[in-house]
């Protein structure tokens, strides 16, 4: 089975098609990309189209699988963590369109594709047709996702937090590690309420840390992915408010820790109480997100 994808950049002459096209896809920007697991062999076919009646002379055709990390603040520069080349054809001439299969089995794809605010991690197939004065190049992106084993211990997060004589609460999230389609179940128990609370919400915050931690520049960005109102109005002492947040509708990634020493992505649950003077009281807790399924 084949399917056609427009490529991000490159020659119209070249088309990259992955085998077994029934795999799940993911929309990235305007493109819909196929998703590979980290262990999956990346195989497919390269089509080199030659217009009828014409002839294509070349100095050789090669295909590469590349993994790159780009920093947006450092445009043009990228760091390549994976690069594998296959020669498809030696120098020669093509009088008609020709297809070449390729096979990148066993190529290491240890990181997940990621597109953040300051950093991007991408995988792509690059086909190069070297010609006398120029080269025809085609790049086809794909997405890599790493399914993780379920965490071995699932401890809950429990915490008591307060301002002396003013507001004491105890909150609880059922786990410390959630998979990305998980449901956050928890509760907030009010031990002492002396302020007039207007409402309470639970935010999921993504914090992206780009750049090397040592010496070099570091770029941190936080992004609030959801503001989920938990409570309307002022509770009294002893009140216990349930938390139930379905994460499946959110655009999340797993937690990334120091990917190739270049960037990290962390997630936080932020419990926010707002009083009638719009003062905000909040407490952030890091949670680890992990990937249970491709998709």
């Amino acid at each position: 089975m084949t399917s056609f994808f427009s490529s991000t950049k490159g020659s119209d002459r070249l088309v990259v098609t992955f085998n077994d096209g029934g795999r799940p896809t993911k929309k990235v920007g305007s493109e819909t990309l196929e998703i590979f697991s980290n262990t999956e062999p990346v195989t497919g076919t390269i089509a080199v189209n030659v217009e009828p009646g014409k002839k294509l002379e070349h100095q050789g055709i090669k295909v590469e699988l590349l993994g790159q990390i780009e920093m947006f603040y450092d445009r043009g520069n990228y760091f390549e963590f994976t690069s594998v080349v296959r020669e498809l054809a030696a120098a020669g001439a093509l009088s008609s369109s020709q297809e070449y299969p390729f096979d990148f089995s066993g190529v290491d794809k240890q990181y997940e594709s990621y597109s953040g605010l300051n950093v991007r991690l991408r995988y792509f197939i690059r086909v190069t047709v070297t010609r006398n004065y120029k080269r025809d190049v085609k790049e086809q992106d794909f997405v890599v996702q790493v399914v993780q084993p379920p965490p071995t211990s699932l401890t809950a997060i429990k915490m008591e937090v307060g301002i002396e004589e003013c507001l004491h609460i105890e909150f609880e999230y059922d786990k410390q590690k959630y998979h990305m389609k998980d449901i956050i179940i928890g509760k907030v128990y009010f031990l002492l309420v002396r302020i007039k609370i207007k409402h309470m919400e639970l935010n999921i915050i993504r914090r992206e840390q780009a750049g090397s931690g040592t010496g070099g520049q570091q770029y941190n960005e936080s992004e609030t992915l959801t503001k989920f109102e938990l409570m309307d109005g002022a509770p009294v002492r002893g009140e216990c408010i349930p938390i139930r947040l379905f994460m499946s509708s959110l655009d999340l990634t797993p937690t990334y820790k120091s990917i190739n020493n270049k960037f990290s992505v962390k997630y936080y649950l932020n419990l926010v109480l707002v009083d009638q003077e719009d003062r905000r009281y909040f407490k952030q807790q890091e949670v680890t997100l992990w990937r249970k399924d491709i998709g």
Binding site: I163, H168, E229, L230, F246, D278, R279, Y281, K283
Partner: protein, 820 residues
């Protein structure tokens, strides 16, 4: 333990932008209502608009869009600016629209959508209030689809609803939950109980939890906002209370809740909530709700627990009203039949304990309120346990104890007086005379002012008279008289006495007075005893009490006593003249003496009345064959006639009575009789008006012609008869000068005929013929008038009678000589 501090706060960050400025400081209520109306209009408009888009999306089967607009619509319910009433309006409009949404969800479900997915999907809504409304709506469909056990959904919904802690919004949300769940509760015979859907216990838990949360929110309303808004807030709370009460109604509608479950599970949990909420408004309302919502047999089974809670309520709660309400409910149920109340339920005792405990604990209750409590208890005892005097006595004892301990002494305030009055009046209707055996009854009377005591006395007498039971016990009667002292005499306190006399001037209080005294009078007729001495003793006592009543009262009270004594005299006389007369302390003679004393005492003030009474006594004495006594009575009457009667009409009436009495008495000595009738005839001849004279003399003629010749006791003096008749003719003749009195002649003619028929030798046909001729002449001289017609008719009939006698064989011979 020290706890973690909050993360550093970003003070002053802008909150969510308010849709509308909060109303602020608008001074006039008019502006308030205008503003409210405008706010409501805006919100309503918005709801309609969003609902329109929602329905359009539903038509296109676009779930996502439909949900989006539903959320926008539900956002309107987030407002804090509307008053409860206006919020209710808005809420109802939203509810109407949510019905379409539910229907849409149903359609989706029927066409294969898993409800669990919908259930998850609506929870992605970021705002808690719209999210929960949607969740409940889907939950309803979820339960109906039977894709999950009803109990699980209900549990989840009632738990998640905790997310709304704003009192008013929370109240309405939970009302929606209760409303949606009402027909989906697992219950006996409900389809939702099948296949693990749940049991009545699950429904119970659900409702009780929703009730508890609702109540907590409602109570919390009280503590929000400014202090000086308290009044308004209380009113708003009253407006919303039905939202809380509905939950109890739902509980009572569960088929599966029987007495045992109610006793073991339901009521304890409700009462726990009532006791713990520590809010007067809520406690009053909820206790009242319990009473009205659940059936009587439930109440009977749980009375103790209920009353236990009553004693724990806040000071401000009107526990008396609650108790009264419960007592009313139960006594309505028993409806005067104590067997309706199971014997193991000692209703009176537990109520009494409750009241006692309340009195111990609530020292701040004012006297009237304490008395009202006792009154309620008394009412209950009488309605549920009619005839149980111990209970009544107990209530009165308690009351006396309360009154005795009252710091202000016997000087009660107006409400307290009313209560004591009521306390004393209540037992009367059912106990009547039995109250005499209540030890405390008269003790309590002391605490009442004169007027109130009088009122109680009237009630007492009414009850006694209505009951109609005979008064046979002298001691009892004595007690009764003590109780009704305000009716028997004027107040000893001169100030009050004056006031009452002044009041006596106007008609109303005069007739009031008369009614009271007539009641006392009727008492006499209830006095009876098979032993004549005993009864006489009672009469003597009554006489003593009545005698102190003053001139105004005796005309009502002594008269029945005379008649009672007359009746007694007859009985005693019969005993005395029997073959073996019993030993009697009081002879008949003694009784007549008693009557004589009474009438003599009245004579000065009521000569007219006394005269009649004397005559009455005379007849009685005559029947008993006490010639001298009878003579004495008649002569007393004559003296009264001479000394006291001046009014000619009164004289006329008195004379007729005297003639009647003399005709009735047949046992006088001839000599005495002569004296009396001569005197009477003289009185007749001395009357002021000629026609009166004429008629009375005619009447007196009969005094000389008593009985038939054949009878042993007859008195015939034909000459005097004739004299009388001739005298009356003369008088009539004088009257004729005014020519208005022809009928006098006709009347006299009739008398002549009577004596003629009765063989008075002195009355001959000659007289009759002459008289007829005279009348004919007179009538001819009369002008045509109504009067003439009357006379003619009478006369004609008389002549017809004569003709009849002439025609009759037996009498023809005698009547023949009469010339017509």
């Amino acid at each position: 333990t020290r706890c973690t501090p909050w993360d550093p706060a970003h003070l002053g960050t802008a909150g969510e932008r308010r849709r509308r400025p909060l109303s602020r400081g608008s001074s006039s209520s008019m502006a308030d209502t205008d503003e409210q109306r405008e706010l409501l209009d805006q919100s309503t408009k918005s709801v309609k608009e969003q609902a329109f888009y929602m329905k359009r999306a539903m038509d296109q089967n676009d779930l996502k869009e439909a949900l989006k607009f539903a959320k926008d619509m539900l956002k309107e319910l987030k407002t804090s600016s509307l008053t409860p009433r206006n919020y209710y309006d808005l809420y109802m409009k939203v509810l109407d629209e949510l019905r379409y949404l539910e229907e849409f969800f149903m359609t989706l479900q029927r066409s294969g959508t898993a409800v669990s997915e919908l259930y998850e999907q609506v929870q992605s809504c970021g705002m808690v209030l719209p999210r929960l409304y949607l969740l409940i709506t889907v939950g309803s469909v979820y339960i109906q689809s039977r894709q999950a056990p009803a109990k699980d959904i209900l549990k989840d919904l009632v738990e998640m609803a905790k997310g709304v802690q704003h009192p008013m919004r929370g109240l309405f949300l939970r009302n929606y939950l209760s409303h949606v769940a009402r027909d989906k509760l697992p219950d006996v015979g409900s389809e939702y109980a099948e296949a693990g859907g749940g049991t009545v216990q699950d429904s119970l838990d659900f409702i009780v939890q929703n009730f508890s949360e609702t109540n907590r929110l409602w109570v919390r309303m009280q503590n929000q906002g400014k202090v000086n808004d308290k009044k308004r807030r209380e009113k708003e709370r009253q407006d919303l209370r039905i939202l809380v009460g509905t939950n109890l109604v739902r509980l009572s509608q569960l088929e599966g809740v029987d007495v045992d479950i109610y006793k073991e599970t339901v009521l304890p949990r409700i009462l726990e909530q009532v006791a713990n909420c520590k809010d007067a408004i809520a406690q009053s309302y909820l206790m009242d709700c319990i009473i009205h919502v659940f059936p009587d047999d439930f109440h009977l089974a749980t009375l103790e627990a209920f009353l236990q809670t009553c004693t724990q309520l806040k000071e401000k709660v009107n526990v008396r009203a609650i108790l009264e309400s419960m007592m009313d409910r139960l006594s309505g149920f028993a409806d005067g039949n104590p067997s309706m109340i199971p014997p193991e339920v000692q209703a009176f005792q537990v109520f009494n304990e409750c009241v006692t405990k309340l009195l111990e604990e609530r020292t701040s209750l004012d006297l009237a309120e304490v008395l009202r409590l006792q009154k309620a208890l008394l009412n209950f005892a009488l309605k549920c346990y009619p005839g149980n005097l111990d209970y009544v006595n107990h209530c009165l004892e308690q009351t006396v104890a309360v009154l005795t301990n009252n710091e202000k002494g016997t000087d009660l305030d107006e409400p307290a007086v009313q209560e004591v009055e009521a306390l004393l009046s209540i037992p009367l209707s059912s106990l009547a005379l039995e109250v005499l055996s209540l030890n405390q009854y008269s003790d309590m009377l002391v605490y009442l002012p004169w007027a109130s005591r009088k009122q109680v006395a009237v009630e007492l007498l009414r009850a006694v008279v209505a009951a109609g039971a005979p008064l046979t016990d002298r001691a009892n009667v004595e007690k009764l008289f003590e109780m009704i002292v305000p009716l028997l005499k004027d107040n000893a306190d001169p100030n009050v006495a004056e006031a009452s006399e002044e009041a006596g001037d106007d008609d109303e209080s005069a007739s009031e007075f008369e009614r009271e005294q007539l009641l006392v009078a009727r008492l006499v007729h209830l006095m009876s005893h098979e032993n004549t001495d005993e009864l006489f003793a009672i009469y003597i006592m009554a006489r003593r009490h009545f005698g102190q009543g003053g001139v105004k009262r005796i005309q009502y009270t002594l008269v029945p006593l005379i008649f009672g004594a007359l009746r007694l005299a007859q009985v005693v006389r019969k005993l005395e003249t029997s073959e073996e007369p019993p030993e009697l302390t009081n002879s008949c003679r003694r009784i007549f003496q008693f009557m004589h004393e009474i009438v003599t005492a009245m004579a000065a003030n009521y000569p007219d009345l006394s005269l009649k009474l004397f005559l009455q006594c005379a007849q009685g004495a005559d029947q008993a064959d006490f010639k001298a006594i009878a003579y004495e009575f008649v002569s007393q009457a004559s003296i009264l006639y001479e000394d006291e009667l001046t009014d000619s009409k009164a004289q006329l009436r008195a004379l007729i009575s005297m003639v009647g009495t003399l005709l009735a008495c047949r046992n006088f000595n001839e000599e005495d009789y002569d004296t009396l009738i001569t005197k009477t005839t003289q009185y007749a001849a001395k009357l002021l008006k000629k026609p009166d004279q004429c008629r009375m003399v005619t009447l007196c003629s009969h005094l000389f012609w008593v009985g038939k010749e054949s009878e042993e006791k007859h008195y015939h003096d034909p000459r005097r008869v004739l004299e009388c008749l001739q005298r009356s003719l003369k008088i009539a003749d004088v009257c004729m000068s005014s020519s208005m009195h022809v009928h006098l002649f006709v009347e006299i003619l009739n008398q002549y005929l009577y004596y003629f028929e009765n063989d008075n030798q002195m009355i001959t046909s000659k007289y009759i013929s002459g008289l007829i001729a005279l009348i004919n002449e007179h009538i001819e001289n009369m002008d045509q008038s109504e009067q003439r017609a009357e006379v003619e008719a009478h006369y004609h009939n008389t002549l017809e009678h004569i003709k009849g006698m002439q025609a009759n064989e037996k009498t023809a011979e005698k009547f023949a000589p009469i010339e017509l």
